[in-house]
């Protein structure tokens, strides 16, 4: 198991290498020159050329790429062209914001999605089953920006229950420690701010949770239905076990493996794909960070930002693979 984990970690290297190459070329395919963007439309050609040279963008692509790789090996993610600060230094607050949002969303999606799937399978063809599956279908097909706007309109504007946007109360800013505000406010023992952070988190995380929740519910249901037909479930019932334990112990553990796969993939997708939600709710996350960087042709930020998200994605899926083995004793990685 340990050897497998180490091997898998090493296998990440070629994946990231390929990834970095693709991103490197793709951003250079975007029309526009960073120097021009920074200096504005009215800048003289000489000034643009000078800045391009200063940024090293006049060198051949392979020189730029090798320099970039060399930096990566030293743990240097480059320097933002726009702000001049190191990306490795700048990126964390954004990443933390997205982590907090996606984890909250996945928490909601998993708790509700898995349970809705279980109950739907348990009471197959009941009104609950039909209602849950129709809702799931609507959830998968709903455009997230529309849902987000509706949430704001109903819960923030009409009912005035929750804040419209942002991560924190502007008049009561949080002193960041880890930049994960829920944890920071807890560490500071500031319940008032903790509640504020939670309130800010609710609407965007529900919007973000909708699609994964619907997918998880549907996968859990079909996986549970399959398992509940199996012989060992019949054995468990023949022992005199109550339906609750038959479902939540014997069936769920067997049915959860395909669900875990989906949870892993969806978590990864949320990290990079939260941009719509982040935009609607003015959430200062990594999606917006990269998106803004594209506007400025801030190559180092785009490259490194995507690389960081990809790395997290890969590691989440590695964890899922390792979880398989933890759940199913028949799965051995050698």
């Amino acid at each position: 198991m340990f050897a497998y984990t180490v091997r898998r970690v090493f296998m990440v290297i070629p994946v990231l290498l390929g990834m970095s190459l693709v991103v490197f070329f793709m951003i250079r395919a975007i029309p526009g020159n960073p120097a021009q963007v920074i200096l504005g439309q009215k800048a003289t050609k000489e000034a643009v050329a000078a800045l391009t040279h200063k940024l090293g963008l006049d060198q051949p692509w392979y020189v730029q790429y090798v320099k970039y790789l060399g930096g990566l090996l030293r743990g240097d993610l480059g320097e933002s062209i726009r702000t001049g600060t190191a990306v490795s230094h700048e990126i964390w607050p954004y990443l933390a914001a997205t982590l907090e949002l996606s984890l909250a969303a996945m928490f909601i999606a998993v708790i509700i999605g898995v349970n809705a799937g279980i109950v739907s399978a348990w009471f197959q063809n009941s009104w609950f089953d039909y209602a849950a599956m129709v809702l799931a279908l609507i959830g998968v097909s709903m455009p997230i920006f529309w849902l987000g706007l509706m949430e704001q309109w109903i819960f923030a504007i009409h009912l005035d229950w929750l804040p419209t946007a942002g991560r924190e109360e502007v008049r009561n800013p949080i002193e960041p420690i880890t930049h994960l505000y829920l944890i920071d406010t807890l560490l500071q023992g500031n319940t008032e701010q903790f509640v504020e952070v939670l309130q800010h988190l609710i609407l965007p995380s529900v919007a973000l949770a909708t699609i994964p929740m619907a997918i998880i519910a549907r996968i859990t249901r079909s996986s549970m239905l399959e398992v509940m037909k199996s012989d060992y479930v019949r054995t468990a019932r023949a022992k005199g076990l109550s339906m609750f334990w038959v479902v939540y112990k014997h069936s769920l553990k067997n049915a959860i493996i395909p669900v875990l796969t989906v949870i892993g993939l969806q978590t990864g997708l949320l990290l990079g794909g939260a941009i719509l939600t982040e935009t609607i709710f003015s959430w200062p996350g990594i999606g917006r960070y990269i998106y803004d960087a594209i506007g400025y042709r801030d190559y180092p930020v785009i490259q490194s930002g995507i690389l960081v998200v990809a790395t997290i994605f890969i590691f989440i899926n590695l964890i899922v693979d390792l979880l398989y083995a933890a759940i199913d004793p028949r799965i051995k990685y050698n």
Binding site: N125, T235, A238, G240, N254, P329
Partner: protein, 341 residues
């Protein structure tokens, strides 16, 4: 020694409700099991043996299978109308069951101990430690070597025969009054079959557990059973003690079944088989269900449904017009009105 009747099934009818309508899988069957007895229930696939056992356990697939008539009396208590709560108390505790497929009947993700201890703790007040000791004791009882190690192993680490022993240990853990064994040896190879049968016979003798042995293997019946019920297409066609059934089978289906067993002493080009197939449940509504495959069938067999006739007062019953006539001519009774000859 007077025997107590532990399980009695009276006029049981179980149907499946599908998109094609109601399909009667078990149609008006009666049988009983006495304390300490081993009853064989024999028949081809699809004749309703397993549905009968699932009806007794109350484990028919929900919303699809349903007992639509008759009674299942466990020590006089009708299980057809028992609440789910009462059935949970009975399952595994009073009536236990083992299944055909030892390879898939244990949950692959939990250790043997976990599943065995769970079975014990549902029905007893034992704490974890005591239940574990009891589980080890049960594993030893069913003849598993190194029980202390096996208890912490997973099902995939055991062979089919060992898993079936675990299933038996689990079923016997609460000393049930009745053990329903649904083709317990079908999936095992022959030497293991013999060991498992011997084990079940020993447990039956030691604990006076009545066993309902569902099988299509007449060899199994001859080996362990005292009485036999032969089922065909959801109905009982013949019933009697094992010697009578083997020596003087009356129903053409039973005779066919016995003839189908290959004999090592005879050299045959082709093995005997009953022509045709078991009709689909619900396919035959008129007449004897075996008539289409029976070489003795006559007019009446196609038009009327024969009753189970008691042949000699010893419990040898047969559902066949051939023997009805025999009986009636013997007793000199008048021909039943409406009977066509």
């Amino acid at each position: 020694m007077s025997k107590q009747r532990v399980l009695e099934v009276k006029g049981l009818k179980t149907s499946f409700f599908t998109d094609d309508g109601e399909i009667p899988a078990v149609d008006d069957i009666d049988f009983y099991i006495d304390e300490g007895e081993i009853l064989g229930v024999v028949g081809e696939s699809g004749c309703g043996k397993s549905v009968t056992s699932l009806s007794i356990m109350g484990l028919l697939p929900k919303g699809i299978g349903k007992v639509v008539g008759g009674e299942i009396l466990f020590r006089g208590e009708n299980l057809v109308h028992a609440t789910e709560k009462r059935m949970k108390e009975i399952r595994g505790n009073e009536i236990a069951m083992i299944f055909q497929e030892p390879m898939t009947s244990l949950n692959p993700l939990f250790t043997i101990g976990n599943q065995l201890i769970e079975a014990i703790r549902i029905h007893t007040d034992l704490n974890k430690k005591e239940a574990r000791l009891r589980a080890i004791e049960m594993l030893k009882l069913v003849g598993l070597p190194r029980a202390e190690a096996i208890i912490d192993e997973y099902p995939h680490q055991l062979s089919g025969g060992m898993r079936q022993r675990v299933m038996i240990a689990m079923a016997m853990a609460c000393r049930p009054a009745v053990l329903i064994a649904d083709e317990p040896t079908t999936a095992l190879d022959v030497t293991i079959q013999a060991q498992i049968l011997k084990l079940m016979k020993d447990l039956n003798e030691n604990f006076r557990t009545a066993i309902m042995m569902i099988t299509h293997d007449l060899g199994v019946v001859a080996e362990v059973c005292q009485r036999v019920v032969v089922m065909y297409s959801g109905k009982i066609v013949e019933e009697g003690d094992v010697h009578t059934i083997f020596r003087r089978p009356k129903h053409p289906y039973t005779i066919g079944l016995i003839q189908s067993v290959p004999d090592i002493r005879e050299k045959k080009e082709r093995l005997y088989s009953i022509p045709g197939n078991v009709p689909k449940p619900g396919a035959i509504t008129h007449g004897c269900r075996f008539a289409a495959r029976c070489e003795h069938a006559f007019d009446q067999c196609l038009k009327e449904t024969p009753q189970l006739y008691d042949l000699d007062g010893t419990g040898h019953r047969v559902r066949c017009f051939l023997h009805q006539r025999e009986e009636e001519s013997k007793s000199g009774r008048a021909v039943v009105a409406g009977e066509k000859s």
